[in-house]
Symmetry: C2
Subunit: 469 residues, 2 copies
Amino acid sequence: MFIINTVLKLNRTMAKKPGIPKGTRDFSPSEVARRQYIMQTIRKGFEHFGFHPIETPSFENYDTLMGKYGEEGDRLIFKILNSGDYLSKVNDEVLEERSSQKLTPYISEKALRYDLTVPFARYVVQHQNDIEFPFKRYQIQPVWRADRPQKGRFREFFQCDADVIGSTSLWQEVEFVLLYDSIFTNLGVHGVTIKINNRKILSGIAEVIGAKDKLIDFTVALDKLDKIGEEGVRKEMEEKGITPEAIDKVSPLFNLNGSFTEKLEQMTQMLSASEEGMKGIEELQFIYNEVESVGLKSANFKLDVTLARGLNYYTGAIFEVAAPDTVQLGSIGGGGRYDDLTGIFGLKNMSGVGISFGLDRIYLVMEELGLFPETVNASSKVMFLNLGSAEMAYSLKAAMQLRELGIKTELYPDNAKIGKQFQSADKKGIPFVVVVGSQEMETQSYTLKNLTSGEQETLSFQQMIERLQ
Amino acid sequence: MFIINTVLKLNRTMAKKPGIPKGTRDFSPSEVARRQYIMQTIRKGFEHFGFHPIETPSFENYDTLMGKYGEEGDRLIFKILNSGDYLSKVNDEVLEERSSQKLTPYISEKALRYDLTVPFARYVVQHQNDIEFPFKRYQIQPVWRADRPQKGRFREFFQCDADVIGSTSLWQEVEFVLLYDSIFTNLGVHGVTIKINNRKILSGIAEVIGAKDKLIDFTVALDKLDKIGEEGVRKEMEEKGITPEAIDKVSPLFNLNGSFTEKLEQMTQMLSASEEGMKGIEELQFIYNEVESVGLKSANFKLDVTLARGLNYYTGAIFEVAAPDTVQLGSIGGGGRYDDLTGIFGLKNMSGVGISFGLDRIYLVMEELGLFPETVNASSKVMFLNLGSAEMAYSLKAAMQLRELGIKTELYPDNAKIGKQFQSADKKGIPFVVVVGSQEMETQSYTLKNLTSGEQETLSFQQMIERLQ
């Protein structure tokens, strides 16, 4: 009994040591400030381009999410346990089987959002009568995945998506390239590469090599061209069962070079026998011409025929954004066109196209390149020290006026030793401190100390504002 | 077999009709815009007063949340089902019992955040070595409760909290009153009433009536004074077992009137025998004096000795904010001081004080009073119509410049009938439409139509900007 009690106590003590579930994160004030800065910049970009925000619930009905992301996706969806006596709805037979997979639908009828696309499709179908199409929506919300956590991969993370639904116009694709360029430019992330491909080109290649089912193998092999060279790629393709004759037909792919248009010309010769392939080339040429005509501010725009993100999902353009060359981080955004987004919920023939920004990776890029403006921090601008009640009353009045001017202002709450108060401001990264003693009160002034330079001045209220603004 | 197939098909068709879990909400673009406006105003207020944002994960470890909100709270916490073969960790004995309550800890080790206070306490303890105290944090995030949904009560809703932890200074209470006033003033919600009480006064009353255990009954009865009069209240108190003699001792409570200070004077006579009660009066007097000295911009500040929110939780000041009298909506904010917030996680003697804003209710108040500025909407400012490819290319260049100036601009993506395009802009609530045809292109001009007034002008780019800004 004594041992049991001790174990229980130990358990209780251990349980008290607080932590958070693996794959999740606490964000400190400075991290929140930086994340907000990125999100606000993306939000503004979306809005200037005419996208409007929606928000959907964190959890959806079980049936809304299940079966939409493949078997692996189903497994990675966080299910919410029903409230109350959930077992009362489970019959003995099901329980005795002891199959977690079979039991789940009986004890869970809700699940956490896995991405923003399926909830968006559900939203469009549910509210179709209130929506004016084409509908340009953006959505910035967290999603949850029961993935194995690893560096840069979390179980809770934000997605930032913009989509247009209800139009097949290629002007959307043009606008999305401009939007990527605009937002990354505004973030100060110059030199990203916006890669584009078209599912129709991939289909055309499959047609030419006479092996639609081998397209993924083919694309995966082709993607290694930089690393293993033409011989290596050919070898891998042959191993996957693609004949040398078929490979020869698309051999221009091994030597694609030159400008966007030059690459397209080389592709044209190769895909001339495929109607779909030619359509893909035509679409890419249109997008390229119009983007070129407006001009990009800081991004590169590149044709990448190996790009195949979510191959079975996209039906037209495929986008991916690579971080600037100086940072080894891979993709920081992506998207594409999908011809039947809402079909799963019963609304047919709704073509959509959209892009996504990878918040966490963009954060890492900006941190690595030192791109966060100095003004983006969570510190107050100024702290009034506390030298006593009368002094605090005098200070508070001034503080309220500074706050109305938009200056982040705090007052040290306790009448602690002055050294401790200075230290506190310093540790919090507050650049200015105001000292108000009896002398300042008599002369209606404020002693302002710049903690960075050490400079100290006794000022009128108006002068203090000028220094702080 | 035929019947089964038909049933399966029916099920599949029915499953397709999309909806969302009860108690949750989709937010349309205009709703998101208005909610963002409120949240941004609150966020700015918090920051100007020197509060810094943190964010915590949507789900916490099961043990972090359970047992912190009472039995009822435990029941209302949404638990997340473990991933994978969660039943493998359950032994036969537990399963055969068929007790949902007993099974839960075996199949769930995470739960959705129920409020922001417990995660904040956990955060402070976990990161105590990185935090400079007193720590002023704010947090604006959703919480989830498996409450029975009803009008104005949801299963997912945002909380907006600001707290200071690590100081017992009453200047914090003063600042929180000013903060409430400042934020509601900035939202345009004038005439809210900030009610204050002090737990020590309630303890003093209990001491005087000689019945600490009857304090809740006493407070509930006293709260009905307006409705049932002094006689009614006395009767209810006696029914609850409070003696007439005890009631007589605190009879000034039935006739509290006059200013804040006058009320305090009446309380002083009544509570003079209670040291704790007198301390409460002293604290309130200090807070009142300092608030009065700075002055409130639009709120009323009122002593309400019946105020007892979360009685067992608060140890000092208790706050509640009532909507302006013209709106019947009850409390739109509340808070108070708690002397041992982090003790549950092993960090003792951390006094905290905080306030909360009720986003959903504030939204309803602002909607009812028509307080959302016209500029807060999700519509684009201008739409360029699509009269063909050359016209679109010309328009897109202009659109990009407008966007850079911060003007929300969209282009109609398809070359549809002009009437349909006008209609679309109108339905979307876009106030301006630009028509570019061959004539405009030749003369480097733009025809701008104001959809509200019907006015139409052909303008240079510079003139168009002036109209739109």
